[in-house]
Amino acid sequence: MHTILVLVRKDFTNFFRNKPALLLTFVIPFVMIYLFGQIFGINRKDSGPNGIPLAVVNLSDNPGAAKLVDALKAEKSFRVLTKFVNPDKSTRPLTEADARALMQGSDAPFRFALVIPADLISTKTIGLRFKILSNPRNEIETQTVNGVLQKTIFTNVPELLAQSLQARAKDFLGDARLQKFNGAIAGAVAGTFGGDKAQIERDLSGGDFGISQLTQSPKPADPTLRRLDPTPAPARSAASVAATASAAPKSDPPTLDSHPSPAASAAAQIIKFETEQVVGANVKSPAATAIVGGWAIQFLLFALSASAVSLFRERDAGIFQRLLASPVTRAQILLGKFVYGVSIGLIQLLVLFFAGRILFGIEVEKHLGLLILVCAFAAAACTSFGMLLAAIAPNAEAANGMATFLIMMMSALGGAWFPISLMPQFIQQFSKLTLVYWSMEGFSNVLWAGMSFVQLLPVLGILGGITAVVMSLAIWRFNRGKIFE
C-alpha cells in the first residue's frame, strides 16, 4: 500500500507542476461550460438571442404599425434600425431600397429587414402582409429571427388583424351596412356581458376586439386563443427554436411548429410573410457553406499551432545551432516557418472546401480565385497566431496547452460553433477580436454573398492587419526570447 501511495503522490506532484495539464483539466472545461451555459440560457434571465440587427422599414401610416415597430424595439433579441444615416450624419426613415443595398456589403449592418408595406391593411383581402428581406447565411440565426419576429407580431398587434377584418367588411358590405352590423354586435355584447354599447361599437369600428388583452398576457387563458399564440413558451431556448424551425421548408412562410394547430394555420393565412432572400439566393447547400468554413478554420488553427510548436523541437535538437552556423539568419528561419504555415494552411483549407464540394455540393469552383485569396489570408493569420504562441510559450508543452485553450475560445467566440447572436451582448463584443470571426466572414462573403475582390478588401485588410500585428509581436518576442540560444 505504501508503494502505491508513493506512486500516486508522484503522479499528483507531476500533475500540479504541469501547467498545461492543469489548464486542460480545469480551466478550459470551466470556460466552455460557462460559454455553453450562456448560449443555452442556463440561469440567465435574458436567455435566447441578443441584439440581432434588424432593419425595419415602415411604409404604413397605421398607428398599429408604429406600435409594432415599438414592440420590435422592445424585443431584446433585436437591435432595431429604422433610420438611414446620410453622409452628413443627418437621418431619414429607412426605405426598402436602402435596406436592400445595405444588406449587400461585407460590412452590412444587418442581415434581416422587416418591411411593413403601405397597404398593410387592404380592403381587398383579409389579413396582414409583411415582407421579410433576409441574408440567411447562418441557418440557426435565420430560423431564430423568423421565430422571434412572428412571436412579436402575433402578440403585440392583434388589433391590426381586427382592423383588417373591418376594412374588408367595409369594402364588402359598404359603410352603412357595416355600421349597422357593428351596432348589432355591440348591442348583443352589451346586452349579454354589460358595458357601454356606444363605446363597444367605437372599439369594434377601430378594430379593437380586446384580443390584445388576452394575447399580451403570459399565456392566454382560453385554449383557442392559446393556439393562436405561435410561441410555445416565452423562455423557449434559441437552440430548441432553431432545432424545430430547421425542420420547416425554407421557402415556406416561417412557422415555428412542424405540426401547426388549425388555429395557428388560420393565423398563418391571415398574417402573410413574403420572405425574400436578398443575398445567396442561388447558393446551393447554404448550411454547409456556413458550417465548413467555421470548422475548417478551427482545425487549421490546431494544425498550424502544432507546426509552430515544432520550433521547440528544432531548438531542442540543436538544429537551430546548425542552421544559424550556416548562412541562415533568424529572420529567414521565421520567414521560412511562416511561408510553410501559410502554404500548408492554404492547402488544408482548399482540401476541406473541396471535401465540402464533394460531400455537400458547396460551389467552390465558382469562386475559386477569391476563395484561394481569402484562404491565403486566413492561413496567414492562423500561422501568425501559431508563431506568437511559440514565441511566448516557454516550451512545447506550454504552447500546446495554450493553443488548445485559445483555439477553443476563439472558435466559440468567433462563431465557428454557433451564431454569435446567441451569446450575451457582452460576450459578443469579443467576437470581432478573433481571427476565426474574420476568416469566417471572408469565406461567407465569397461563397455565400458572392462578393467581388473590391468588396472583399475590408475583410482581407483586417486579416492582413491581424497577421502583421501578431507576426510583429511574435518576431519581437522571438528576438527577446531564448528559442535561438
Binding site: A317, Q321, P327
Partner: protein, 306 residues
C-alpha cells in the same frame, strides 16, 4: 588563423567566459578540455557566430568574426553537441537540406553527399530515416553534415557524447584523416582520453578561464611531479600510506587505489626504499606518466567529471 583576444561573455550574473585569449594556427587539431559548464560550448558558439561576445574580439584570417557574418559562416563547419538532424527524414535528405543551405546544388551536391556517406560508412543506409539509426550512426551523420561545404575550420562540440567505442573510434579516425588533409579542427571535450589522442594542442578551461594552453608534453611539465605511483589501498599498505603525505600528494580513488605524486625533491628510489621497509613487494606498485586528469586536478582543484 583564428584569434580570440580577451573575450568575455556573460549570461546575467554568470560569467561564462572571462577574458579568454587564444590563437589557433592553420592545420591544428586543437582541443578544448574542461568539465561541463566550463565554457567550452560558449567558446564554440562565439566562434560559430551564434552569439556575440560582451567584450574582446574574434578574428578569422585577420577578418573580424562578427555574429551573423556570412563570410565567416561559409568558412566554418559546426558539429553541434546534439544530433542536429531531422529524424523523420533519411540521411540523404538531411544532407541535401544542409548542403543546399550553403548554396550547393546539382551534381556537385550529389557528389559531395555520396563522398560524405561513403566516408562514414552510411552509403547503404542513405534512404533510411535517421530515427532508425543507432546513436553512433547518427553521430557520424551529424559530423559529415557540417563538412559538405568544405569548411576551413571545423568546430566539434563534444561530438562523441553517448557513442559506443566502435563508432567513437570511427569518428576519431575520420577526424584524424580530415586533419591530415589540412582541415583545422577545434574539438571540445571533457574526455581526457579524447584530447590526449586527437589534439596537437590543448587548452584547459574551467569556470570560463583558460588555465593552461600547449601541447600535451608542455602541459604535463606544469605538474610538480614526473611520475605517478599507484598501489592498492589495503591494510597491508596502510602504514606506508600514512607516511607518504610527508613526501608528496596522496589521493585514494573510489576503486580502491592509492595515487601518490611525489614532491620534486622526492626521488623514486627513496619511495621504493620506504616501501621495502614495510615489506611490501615491488609488484604492488605501478608507475606511469601523469595524465591530463592529474593536470586538471592540479590546476583547478577538481576533477574533469565534477
Amino acid at each position: 588563423m583564428l584569434s580570440l583576444a580577451s573575450v568575455t561573455k556573460r549570461y546575467g550574473s554568470l560569467t561564462a567566459l572571462a577574458g579568454v585569449s587564444l590563437n589557433i594556427e592553420r592545420g591544428e587539431f586543437f582541443g578544448l578540455l574542461g568539465p561541463n559548464g566550463a565554457g567550452k560550448s560558449t567558446t564554440m558558439s562565439l566562434i560559430a557566430g551564434l552569439r556575440a561576445p560582451d567584450t574582446g574580439t574574434l578574428t578569422l584570417d585577420g577578418q573580424p568574426l562578427n555574429a551573423g557574418s556570412a563570410v565567416a559562416r561559409l568558412s566554418l563547419g559546426l558539429v553541434p553537441q546534439h544530433i542536429a538532424l531531422y529524424s523523420e527524414l533519411n540521411a540523404d535528405e538531411n544532407l541535401r537540406i544542409f548542403g543546399s543551405l550553403y548554396g550547393l546544388s546539382g551534381s556537385d551536391l550529389r557528389a559531395r553527399i555520396d563522398a560524405a556517406l561513403e566516408a562514414v560508412q552510411l552509403t547503404d543506409r542513405r534512404r533510411d530515416a535517421v530515427k532508425t539509426f543507432s546513436g553512433g550512426m547518427q553521430r557520424r551523420l551529424n559530423l559529415v553534415a557540417a563538412l559538405l561545404h568544405r569548411p576551413k575550420l571545423l568546430l566539434c562540440d563534444e561530438p562523441t557524447v553517448g557513442v559506443d567505442p566502435q563508432s567513437r573510434n570511427a569518428i576519431f579516425e575520420y577526424l584524424e584523416q580530415l586533419n591530415r588533409d589540412g582541415l583545422t579542427i577545434i574539438y571540445s571535450t571533457h574526455y581526457m582520453e579524447e584530447a590526449t589522442r586527437l589534439c596537437s594542442r590543448i587548452g584547459i578551461i574551467d569556470h570560463g578561464k583558460l588555465h593552461a594552453l600547449g601541447t600535451l608534453d608542455e602541459l604535463l611539465t606544469k605538474l610538480p611531479f614526473e611520475e605517478e605511483i599507484r598501489f592498492p589501498a589495503t591494510p597491508a599498505t596502510a602504514a606506508l600510506a600514512a607516511q607518504l603525505p610527508a613526501h608528496g600528494e596522496l589521493t585514494t580513488t573510489t576503486d580502491g587505489l592509492h595515487r601518490f605524486r611525489p614532491h620534486p625533491a622526492t626521488k623514486l628510489s627513496s619511495f621504493f626504499s620506504l616501501a621495502e621497509s614495510h615489506a611490501l613487494p615491488g609488484r604492488l606498485f605501478t608507475s606511469q606518466r601523469p595524465t591530463l586528469e592529474a593536470l586538471f586536478l592540479h590546476l583547478t582543484g577538481r576533477t574533469l567529471r565534477e
